[in-house]
Symmetry: C2
């Protein structure tokens, strides 16, 4: 089901009920950018990785949130599903956000409707912003109450000491005309007098006219005219009853406006409260943006981040991590979502029969809508069901108590680095970097020169730092210990173990934490060993999946 | 005419010719944000204003560029016009930019097609980026030349020392299948073998297969398959002639890609080179963004900025400045573009008869497309023609030599501050702040309390700093000298002349230059004197034209 600000209020009620009934909730988001920096190195620790990613993704936002809810009725056969595809866009007038131009182009090419997003996106705000919004509404309502008292009192206001602005020559016609029309309202000759296209100065003159010449014996109202221009409407003086009726409408408008502005935070709070398992695919950035936009800013410290995400979402399952795990990775040559699905549609995996709760709002695996968040959340949920089935875990089980699921709970797959995952609630795998070397080489060297130099140690993976330095990882780790002793000595070639490199670079790394690294050349790259492209060519050919194989090495 | 990357190359040729023939060029842009800060004070000097605006608009970009070209054939009666509406979007994959969420919503509500923008926008880059792009293309072409030499040489490559990757179990089927198909290509049984959906690791295995098992006796080619996935195509070995033909296509693709990426910079360079007068309405931000995106970063120093803008666009005319000038302001109660047009359509101004050069690509004043950059550039050009007519300046005249136009040349209207304009090539009006006072008052004070306190000095304009400080400007400047001597002394109320305030605050201002001011409450506001809203209410009611009347005070 597509959700925009037009139907969000109703959907919120429905989804809240769906959350209560669901066995698990799968989510996906589309966002405005992946990262604005490229200083992540393939052999970073999870702390280093988090800190770099956290800094380099600041400012990006979610533009679409997909939620799918899966349940099985007691005694029922099929799993029931419902999906929502929610356009989300900050409603605060001062809000600014960052975009990576490629991200929007990619989404546009995949049929994302930006016109709908910018005109009808559901709002989003974090905890502090919600408090502020509610406080503002409260103040506004109190102020209006005061105003009603003043406006409906019979007390004559003395304007003799007021310093009214002189009406300039070119505004005389407007004011004279207004005077006449307002008199007609007082004389009950017309119901209301409308004044369109007034600029700020003219509005000011009008209010002064009403105070000075009519002693506030009429009421005013601002309405939206054509072209988003405000229109001033002058009517006969409203009674207290009229004012209170008008105020009731305004309070209802305030409430609706709050729901529209707080938007998906209201939904995320429900999900958080429910403590239901949240399933997502390759979801670190999704959670980065959901936490930042709907809850609070990410902490600088990696362990604080783990505490925060666990406090808000205590049961996270990443299908990419499952597909990549030692238990299952033999089945998956790629863990990209649609390729995981493709594999799960063949034996030994079984087809999962689903039933759409609302038959008019369905997705189908046969007509994919990839990169629509709602569809991708459904796909993720489907993959999870197939994996659950393979692991013999019944949907009705409390996942926290499932032995088969325990190795997958609260672990999030990592991208582009050797460490395979983040473990939110426990220890993480030790990062072995003994097979990794940092090398310096002459500027004239090509990929093939580096490969030649390492040919005695088997296949290597090169991760560029710049055009004279790189990291080299050995495929045959058992060769690591003899490299420094036996590698050829050539002018301009230097080699260090990763540990030595890191000890030397600690001061530099420390500086990088506070100073934004500007060197665009520090892009890191893994190249294949026999296409032998020149170095700059290799960089241009960088693909998203470059580091995918890292985890196997 | 609508311009996207699909027709940009052809349009560039056409517009370049149009620029040569035009008497003047009117422009307009739509952009992603106005300002991310609200620390501009109404009585800032132009230097202070520039520095604040320059910092707070960094990162925003142009998304649509409108250009209209006006000419009159020798002896011709009517003015001929041509308009282009160009969608513009950075093509660099790493480019990030800033958006104000309100800006996109505003444009979407006005019918802006974002789907077209993100999928088909013409590129844009500055001088340095152009150099880098051209250098990259050069390197890529040189690399390809080397590769052709290697690929077409008859020399047998010795692969005995190569360390090929072992083929993992789950990839054996793929590789065995590929081996068979490639053999069929070599045996001339099939023309080509296509391999789709290969991930990075699989591509690597394929290249190794070709090198190891087929000793490079086939050629490969990468093509775009469905869903933006690259497809590897293996064909029989290409001859030198084939390779050179393929290379010729690639060079042509490189050229087209360069034009697409450099995009509107190519156009802007033509306009700059032509030194033709550029007419725009309220155009400071337009030029900020055009200079930054198409030429170079803005300098920090205000005078350097004036030098830069004059070097690139030596003849700028701002129609808002003309309408606001002492010569003409009596006619215009508002200088917003569509209101200036409305006024120019009535006497004493004359209707301007225009002829569209391309009758299939026209705008009409009768069916406005406000906030479409092409239309607004046309509107601006029309207004300028009507003003020229009123000033008795013939279109054919060299504007630089026109006495009637001299007071308007190279002056840009300013917004939200008391200073009316920037004078690019000369001295600027002295900023008189002797009628401005800085006040501190108890938090409980309302607008009416401040007004009461100043009632002896005539009407005032209040510009909020926060809820206990504000600037107060007197409408009757002659009362300024007696304020400090005669104003009531109340507990919690303090008053300073602007000069005293500034002397005290200099250290603070200096800090603001380096530290991003985070206080969101520092929004500055002018309120009308008798709607007496509460202070927070006043802030929420802030409109774009709030400071419009500043200039009259």
């Amino acid at each position: 089901m597509e959700v925009t600000k037009q139907n969000f209020k109703d959907c919120l009620v429905e989804i809240t009920k769906d959350i209560e009934e669901a066995h698990f909730i799968s989510i996906d988001t589309e966002f405005t950018g992946l990262t604005s920096e490229r200083n992540i190195l393939p052999f970073d620790t999870s702390e280093e990785y988090y800190e770099k990613l956290f800094r380099s993704t600041k400012g990006f936002i979610i533009v679409q949130l997909g939620i799918s809810l899966f349940k099985k009725d007691p005694g029922g056969e099929k799993v029931k599903v419902k999906s929502y595809n929610i356009y989300t866009y900050p409603q605060s007038s001062l809000a600014t956000f960052l975009c990576q131009s490629q991200s929007f182009s990619f989404l546009a090419e995949n049929g994302f409707d930006f016109n709908k997003l910018f005109s009808s996106g559901v709002g989003v705000c974090n905890e502090k912003q919600e408090e502020k919004l509610r406080q503002e509404v409260k103040e506004r309502q109190e102020f209006r109450q005061e105003q009603i008292k003043i406006r409906t009192s019979d007390e004559q206001v003395d304007t003799s000491s007021r310093n009214f602005l002189p009406v300039p020559e070119n505004e005389k016609e407007l004011i004279d005309n207004a005077k006449e029309k307002i008199q007609q309202v007082i004389d009950n000759k017309i119901l209301e007098a409308k004044f369109e296209k007034l600029n700020g100065f003219q509005r000011k003159l009008m209010y002064e006219l009403i105070e000075r010449d009519f002693n506030n014996k009429v009421s005013t109202l601002t309405k939206n005219g054509d072209n988003y221009q405000k229109m001033m409407v002058v009517t006969s003086k409203r009674t207290l009853e009229d004012e209170l009726k008008l105020e009731k409408d305004k309070i209802r408008d305030d409430e609706n406006s709050l729901i529209e502005k707080i938007g998906i935070r209201l939904l995320m709070k429900e999900i958080s409260k429910s403590k239901k398992p949240i399933v997502a695919h390759n979801c670190l950035l999704d959670f980065f943006y959901i936490l930042t936009q709907c809850f609070e800013d990410l902490p600088e410290n990696y362990n604080d981040f783990k505490k925060l995400i666990h406090r808000i979402f205590p049961n996270i399952i990443d299908t990419k991590f499952i597909a990549h795990s030692d238990h299952l990775k033999e089945f998956f040559s790629s863990t990209v979502l649609n390729q995981v699905l493709e594999r799960l549609q063949k034996p030994p995996f079984k087809e999962i029969e689903l039933e759409w709760e609302n038959p008019y709002n369905t997705y189908s695996l046969k007509s994919p809508k990839e990169h629509e968040a709602g569809y991708d959340s459904f796909l993720t949920g489907y993959c999870f069901l197939a994996l659950l089935d393979h692991l013999n875990v019944p949907l009705e089980l409390n996942f926290e108590k499932s032995k088969a699921l325990a190795p997958f709970l609260n672990r999030i797959a990592l991208q582009r680095i050797a460490l395979p995952y983040i473990h939110i609630t426990g220890d993480e795998p030790k990062l072995n970097r003994t097979h990794v070397f940092h090398i310096k080489f002459p500027q004239t060297w090509q990929v093939s020169d580096i490969q030649d130099h390492f040919k005695n140690y088997g296949p290597i993976q090169i991760s560029w730092v710049d055009n004279t330095t790189a990291f080299v990882a050995l495929y045959n780790k058992e060769n690591s210990s003899c490299v420094l002793k036996t590698i050829g000595k050539v002018n301009g070639f230097e080699i260090k173990t990763f540990a030595d490199f890191q000890a030397n670079e600690k001061i530099v790394l420390l500086k990088q934490k506070t100073l934004k690294r500007k060197n665009e050349d520090s892009e890191s790259e893994s190249t294949s060993s026999n296409t032998t492209p020149s170095k700059p060519e290799a960089k241009r050919k960088k693909k998203k999946d470059t580091f995918k194989q890292c985890n196997n090495w």
